[in-house]
Every structure is written in C-alpha cells, then in structure tokens.
Amino acid sequence: MRVLRYGDDALLVEVDDLDEVRRVDLALRAARSHAPHEHAPYEHGAATLAHVVDLVPAARSVLLRVDARGDLDALAREVTRLVTDSTTSSSAGASPESTAPTSTAPTSTARPDAAGVVELPVVYDGIDLREVAELTGLAVGDVVRRHTAALYTVAFGGFMPGFAYLVGLDPSLRVPRRDTPRERVPAGSVAIADTFSAVYPRATPGGWRLLGRCATTLFDVDRDPPALLTPGTAVRFVPVTP
C-alpha cells in the first residue's frame, strides 16, 4: 500500500487489487463513521478523519478528499495506521475495531458486507448476446445461465450517478469492450466488459457488451439513499420474461 498526496486537499491510497480496495474502503468508512465519538488516544486521528468529505474507491485505489481544515500529513499517518491494523486484525476488514484473529485469506470481494442481496430482474435480449456467445465459445443460453449464476459485489462507482462496477463475473464471460463505443446505450442496459458487469442507470454513450435490460431504478435523487448500488452491495441478476 502507498499513500500519496493528491494536490492540496486529497490523498490517494494505492493498493494492489480490488480485494484490498474493498478492505481499505470499509476500514476507512467504519473509522470515519465513528470519528466524532472517539476519545483519546485516537482523538487526533479521529478528528482528522472527520474532515474527509469524499471517500472514492476505484479499481486499485481509494481517494480521500478533505475539507478546508483537513490536515493531509496527519491523515496520511492515520490512514496508514488504520489500514495496517485492519490487515492484521480482520480478513474481511469490515471493522478496524475487530480484534478476532483469523487465518482465512482476504477474499472480501465475493462477500456482501450487509445481509441483503439486491436482486435485479433482467430480460436477456441484449443486442450483443450472440456476439458474446461467439467470443466466449458458449451457447447463448449458457452465457445467460453463467451471468445469472454468479453473486456479484459492487466494487466501486463512477462514470455517472448510480453506475456501479460489479465484480464476481464468471471468468468464462470475460470479453473486451467494443472497439468503437455506441453513441447511445439505452437506460437499464445490463452489460459486461473485461472482469466487470454493470447496469447503465440512464442512456449514455458506452462501449460495454449488452446482454439484456433491467427496469429497476438505480438512481433517484428523491429516494433515500439515492443510489441502489453502493460499494459493498451484493447483487444477483434474475432472468425474467418480457
């Protein structure tokens, strides 16, 4: 793990893989949510975390943006301490306070951090289904079966409000993005690219391969919380007929 300065109000924590991203993100989120109530000896570090206004997990990094009173040097020390503690104390990294020793390897990406699994109904009639079948050497029915058999986890968001990069895709379904992105991918499109699957929350240009469509509203500013899929959420695709 490396903690880098990212301008005057942000740090970038670089890690090796998505499992570690999940672990670092969870450890920092948990610590931040406790920050205002902590007392000595964590007082200084806790106060530092309270100034983190945005925590942005991505593929191999977690960005921390602080407000005007944030102290980046103190924050970097606190992040290093928290992440080191969570490495030694917990395989899933769900809580930096957890002291239960465990010998299991860290495999947090396949594990939901809440009890619930979000089920997304999908009509598998995507424009790229046949092409994905050809690229993978599978029958169309097998592409659908393998896509619905997996349990996914939201690794990180980005790209547009409510868009979630899902990991857990069956390795046999790994296909590259299209060489030329489509100018318009319809809202609700269920897609795959590389090791990820996703649902497009609204129409946008996009280069992923489209397997089907899902009518579930992924993002609504009038809903609390507005985004259905947040980092750590477990997701399953359920085939339905139109």
Partner: protein, 322 residues
C-alpha cells in the same frame, strides 16, 4: 482569505437600513428575480454536493469558488449560498422586490436601469435594487465567469443537499431561461459589513503552480519539467468539466507506453495526460474517476483561476511551494 462567514451581529446603527428592508423577511421564498435574458449560459451554483462521489455524483459547485464566496460575503450571506454563474456576460435580470446583490469574478460592464435612468455600477460592492430595477451584464473585458450573489441566496429546490447545476451528471437546476422567476431566500441574520472589496485582477498570463501528481512515475523523467517550462494555450474544447490545452506533448515512460490505467478518483485541478500527450486540467464538473495518468495537480489556491481562462488564453505551469 481570512474571513469565512460574516459575523452574525445584530443590525446596528452603522448598518444601512436599506440593506434590511422589511420586504426581505418573508417566511417562504418568493419569486423575486426575473430572468429577462440568460446570456450564453447562466447556471445556479453554490459550494456543490460533496459526499456522493462513491456513487458517481461529483461535487460540482461554482467553477470560481472564491468569486462566489466574495459575492456572497458582500451581501451578508453564508459564503456558499447559491448564486448565479454567468458565462461571458449577457445576463439581464429584473428585481421584483427590493434586493441586495453583488458581483464578483470576471469584471463585466454592468448597468442598473431604474425607470428611464440607466446607471453604471461596479463589482465587489453591495448594490441595492428597488422593485422593477433591471440589472444588465455586458461582456467581461477579461475572464469568463461573473458571479451574481443576492442577499438571501437563490432558493431553487436543492438536489442531494445542493443547488449546484452539474452539467456532466445532469443534476440540479437547468440553465436559466428567459421568463423564469427565481425565488430568493429570507435575508440571513448577519448584516452587511463590507462596502467594497479589493480584488486581484485576472492576470495576463495565468501561471498555475502544480504539485507532482500521483502518477508522475508513468511519465518520462522530463515530463514534469516540460509541463512547468512550456507554454500552453486554452483550446475551444473547454468547459466546466475540463480545460483542454494545446502545446508541447508530454511523453510517457517507455515501460508505461500503451498501458491502460485502471479507473482512479479525480480531483479539481488534476492535470491528466491522455494518449495524445496534451494536458487536460479538470474543473468543477470533473468526472468522479478517470482512466489516464495524472501528471500534476494544480495547487489549491490557483484552481479558481482555471474558471476564468478563455479559449486562446496562454497558460503556464510552475512548481508549487508550501
């Protein structure tokens, strides 16, 4: 800047009575500012919506935060209250009731018409508008974005806690249109404490101090010094999302040539270098994550200047100092 928010003192004898007329204390926001002409593009902006980046919603907010804050302080608002961000002038508004307003940012020739009388007015000072007064912004002589703050703040409904118009995500209020009437909130408790504020003008050549970015190792050993010693120019493909620059290309280290960077979080002021080698400097509506290495990051104090650079303007980078 030292003052963050005006002291919430009770109005004293030194507070001009015209700044706290009884008409500005309704309980609910009422239509108060009528848009006669929106100009090229006028957006409602405040401090933005932090805290949602992990679900793909960026902060957005005023492109020149310092200018919005100054305009708000001049009218006694919290500095992050919602005001208007006017791109290249052209805005014309009519006060439907007495209002206190102030201008900051790109200096645009401005007039107030009261009946048949047209009076030129200046920026960086509170202005009293009577009901019916028409404020007109001409084209700024330099800079790009002028901010109009109104005492009480523009009170359109917030989205995810902010009134900022995020053009990239399509969140928040739409750009202003002619005929629209904007609500203005109740006057804040604080009085107006500044008559006029001294302001540094927009420089002839913008010099942006930069820190090394998180991906500096992706570039050749001279890329950062090339960035800091070359002249760049703002291209027309420039908006609230990013300033795209033309000039000397920046080369990657041979071992990183052709490699793809996994998506990584972005910040305002990040200097990203895509495959063509030309720097892109991210602004208020930057995407939450990006896929190209970040060579440098504009130092905090200079980020606002990005909002005032026009296509064709020269840009230089320099080492930032602590």
């Amino acid at each position: 800047m030292t003052a963050t928010t005006p002291t919430p003192t009770t109005p004293s004898a030194t507070t001009p009575s015209a700044t706290t007329p009884s008409a500005t204390t309704p309980t609910a926001p009422v239509g108060a500012l009528e848009v006669l002409a929106p100009g090229l593009l006028t957006l409602v902006q405040d401090d933005g919506r932090p805290g949602w980046a992990h679900v793909g919603v960026g902060r957005a907010g005023a492109a020149d935060l310092g200018a919005l804050h100054l305009a708000n302080r001049l009218v006694g608002n919290d500095e992050g209250a919602a005001g208007l961000e006017v791109l290249l002038g052209g805005l014309q508004v009519r006060a439907r009731r007495p209002l206190t307003v102030a201008l900051a940012g790109a200096p645009a020739p401005t007039t107030v018409r009261r009946g048949s009388l047209v009076v030129p007015v200046g920026p960086h000072a509170p202005l009293e508008l009577a009901a019916g007064d028409v404020l007109t912004l001409g084209t700024p002589v330099r800079g790009l974005r002028t901010y109009l703050a109104v005492r009480g703040g523009v009170a359109v409904p917030p989205v995810l806690g902010s009134r900022s118009s995020d053009r990239l995500a399509g969140l928040g209020p739409e750009p202003l249109t002619a005929g629209e009437v904007l609500p203005v909130g109740p006057a804040p408790a604080g009085g107006i404490v500044v008559d006029v504020a001294p302001v540094r003008p927009v420089p002839d050549v913008a010099v942006l101090p930069v820190w090394p970015g998180p991906h500096v190792a992706w570039f050749g050993p001279h890329a950062l010094s090339t960035l800091r010693t070359s002249s760049y120019r703002v291209t027309p493909a420039t908006d609230r999302t990013a300033l795209r620059l033309g000039g000397t290309t920046l080369r990657r280290a041979p071992e990183h040539e052709g490699r793809e960077l996994a998506p990584v979080g972005l910040v305002r002021g990040a200097v990203q270098v895509p495959a063509d080698g030309l720097p892109v400097v991210f602004g208020a509506d930057h995407p939450v994550t990006g896929g190209y290495p970040v060579l440098a990051v504009v130092a905090g104090g200079a980020v606002d200047l990005l909002a005032q650079l026009r296509p064709g303007d020269p840009v230089r980078f320099a080492p930032a100092r602590r």
